[in-house]
């Protein structure tokens, strides 16, 4: 820590970033809740290694799954999962991530403390 920087200053900067992220998450929540099964499936298709824009994009797969299980109903997710299960082994990671068992674990493990604006999502 340099002389002209204080812990309080660092904390203000962190808080500004958190506020921006919270607004972004809220925007994303509304979009995910309004999306059709086909639109959600199209989003997951962009995680194919052949279509991914790179590892930085693909590494956001787990946070996306976490958000989906937090924001959408089980029936919609089951419909998306079924579409990928039918495509076979190359899409097994998507189908497994959207299985009800996985969803139960994700929902149980994503805490939402009473003082927090958003649940404690994974950050990549």
């Amino acid at each position: 820590m340099s002389d002209d920087q204080t812990l309080a200053e660092f904390w203000r900067i962190r808080n500004a970033a958190a506020a921006t992220l919270a607004l972004t998450e809220e925007q994303m929540r509304r979009a995910v809740q309004a999306a059709t099964v086909e639109q959600l499936a199209a989003l997951f298709e962009a995680f194919s290694p052949a279509r991914s824009t790179g590892p930085e994009w693909t590494r956001t797969f787990d946070p996306l799954v976490e958000h989906l299980w937090t924001w959408r109903d089980s029936e919609t997710i089951a419909a998306v999962a079924e579409a990928f299960r039918a495509r076979g082994i190359p899409w097994a990671s998507v189908a497994n991530a959207l299985s009800p068992e996985r969803g139960g674990r994700v929902r149980a493990a994503t805490p939402h403390p009473s003082w927090a604006r958003q649940p404690a999502f994974g950050l990549v």
């Binding site: 052949a50 790179g54 590892p55 930085e56 693909t58 787990d62 097994a92 990671s93 497994n96 991530a97």
Partner: protein, 534 residues
């Protein structure tokens, strides 16, 4: 054992190897040593001589009828021997024989790779990777004919050659490197043989052949299929140097035949080498004068920066981090040690799927070749090789990260078992660790190692336990090779995070996908060598 008829002879061993009768060949190999007191070194030489003509391929790229290309695997028989010879000294006594028996078990399964991938010869590529038994079953569908024996002789794609002599040593070394880069296998091999004859040339020849192997490395494997070598040119060069030193250079002709021609085999990939040469010319003009060690090794913050770049960053993040360390005065091995240590966080914290270990651990083994080259030789290009190794590691990590993670292969956190591990008395911990490595229980194995490392400064017995357990698994020379790399790097590493090499090693050996669920080869070893506490 009692059913084996007839005398064990080297001729018999050769016939069994070339006939892909790997169980018989392994028994004969053991009998030659136990019944006839034949030295292990002589038997390794005999096995290498039996395979040398049959491990070459015309190319590591095969054009398919539709015009697409597929990769053709690299010979792994010689890599098994190199790992085994290295581990022999680490394990000691009759336990040190085990990795050699594993290498022997693999050898007959690793011949004639080109024919294996097109299902015209038996072996582990045909049986396992290509699943040829399903595509072309024999008359008895309950028997997989691609497990051997062979139904025809293995094919020779590159005949042995005479040495090329004449000209100064400098000229011949330069010609050899150029012949390898240009793919003139005959010229490269002939020049190597000529240079290897004179003991006075051998140190420079070893440096040159390692340099040739290290510089031929793909810039990325992301979506590349077979257009890559995942470090195999360097791994083969290191195998040549180590095994020739073990056998004696005057006794190693078949080893040279096994290794050198393939260094010039297609594809030869110099894009990454070209990039690293360019950035060093621009930013690090004094690269040739960087000392091997300095009084400015990486501090904790710098180790964190390098970890972030290798594990989570992109290729230019890696370049920038390493360039910064060299520019502020770090030595080549200071940075190389840090690359080895920082990479371990990927094994320790990130990897879960058993199949995903393969490429990153090839990068670790490549970096071990780089480090040993830097330690043992003097070459003005050695600082560049540190960039190469770190970039290879980063690329394999990025390649894995390009696939969505499959939650079906989630691992429990090692921390879940830490209290359990801490309750085990230290003098009873290692046998329990061995059992959990054999059970492929990575969370408990890792927790046991974490606990052990914090409770004692003892490391030799810990590494011995992990390595001996790892060597129970058959059909896979990668196990011995990675064991050799990890133990060697642990011994030399001077960073504060040296123990992470053991943490990464045990995670690898307790999780990496296994090619066979049984320990038949290990039982052959026990039958013949009767080790205490098997």
């Amino acid at each position: 054992m009692g059913l084996i008829q007839g005398a064990a002879t080297v001729d018999r061993l050769r016939e069994e190897i070339q006939g892909v009768r790997y169980r018989d060949a392994t028994s004969t190999f053991c009998r030659l040593m136990t019944e006839q007191d034949r030295p292990l070194k002589d038997m390794i030489k005999a096995a290498i001589a039996s395979t040398a003509p049959y491990v070459q391929v015309p190319s590591h790229l095969m054009q398919l009828p539709n015009g697409e290309l597929r990769g053709v695997n690299y010979d792994h028989t010689i890599l098994g021997w190199r790992g085994a010879i290295s581990l022999m000294g680490e394990l000691g006594g009759s336990r040190g024989i085990l990795p050699n028996i594993q290498a022997m078990w693999y050898v007959p399964q690793g011949l004639n790779v080109w024919e294996q991938v097109i299902c015209e010869f038996p072996g582990h590529y045909a049986r396992d990777g290509e699943q040829c038994g399903k595509k072309f079953p024999g008359p008895d569908e309950s028997v997989n004919r691609f497990d051997g024996p062979a139904w025809n002789a293995p094919r020779i794609y590159f005949q042995d050659h005479d040495p090329i002599e004449g000209g100064s040593v400098d000229e011949r070394l330069a010609r050899m490197y150029w012949a390898i880069a240009e793919g003139d296998k005959a010229e490269a091999y002939g020049l190597f043989l000529g240079l290897a004859r004179d003991p006075a040339n051998r140190r420079r020849l070893k440096d040159a052949i390692l340099f040739a192997g290290i510089t031929d490395l793909q810039d990325t494997i992301i979506n590349r299929g077979g257009y890559q070598n995942i470090g195999h040119k360097a791994l083969r060069a290191r195998a040549l140097v180590d095994i020739a030193d073990y056998l004696g250079w005057d006794n190693a002709h078949e080893l040279f035949y096994t290794v050198v021609p393939d260094l010039g085999c297609s594809p030869r990939l110099y894009g990454l080498w070209s990039e690293i040469c360019t950035i060093c010319k621009m930013e690090l003009p004094g690269y040739a004068a960087i000392p091997k060690r300095s009084d400015k090794p990486l501090n904790e913050r710098e180790l964190d920066i390098l970890t972030e770049a290798i594990v989570w960053g992109g290729p230019f993040d890696v370049n920038a981090a390493i360039m910064g360390f060299f520019k502020r005065g770090a030595g080549i091995l200071d940075v190389g040690d840090a690359v080895i240590a920082c990479f371990q966080r990927y094994l320790i914290d990130v990897l879960e799927h058993p199949n995903a270990f393969l490429h990153p651990t090839h990068a670790l083994d490549y970096m071990n070749v780089v480090q040993s080259w830097i330690r043992d030789y003097d070459n003005p290009h050695q600082a560049k090789a540190v960039f190469m190794g770190a970039r290879f590691m980063n690329d394999t990590i990025r390649s894995n990260a390009n696939f969505p993670r499959d939650p079906a292969f989630n691992l429990e956190p090692r921390s879940n078992y830490r209290a359990w591990a801490d309750d085990i008395p230290i003098d009873r911990l290692l046998p329990i660790l061995k059992d959990h490595v054999l059970a492929q229980d990575a969370p408990r194995s890792c927790a046991l190692v974490d606990s052990y490392l914090e409770r004692t400064r003892e490391r030799h017995d810990l590494l011995d336990t992990i390595t001996y357990a790892a060597c129970h698994w058959q059909n896979d020379p990668h196990v011995m090779r990675n064991g050799a790399s990890s133990l060697e790097e642990f011994r030399h590493n001077r960073t504060s995070r040296r123990d992470d090499i053991i943490r990464g090693y045990v995670k690898h050996q307790a999780r990496y996908v296994k090619r066979a669920p049984t320990h038949d080869c290990f039982h052959v070893y026990v039958d013949y060598f009767k080790p205490a506490n098997a």
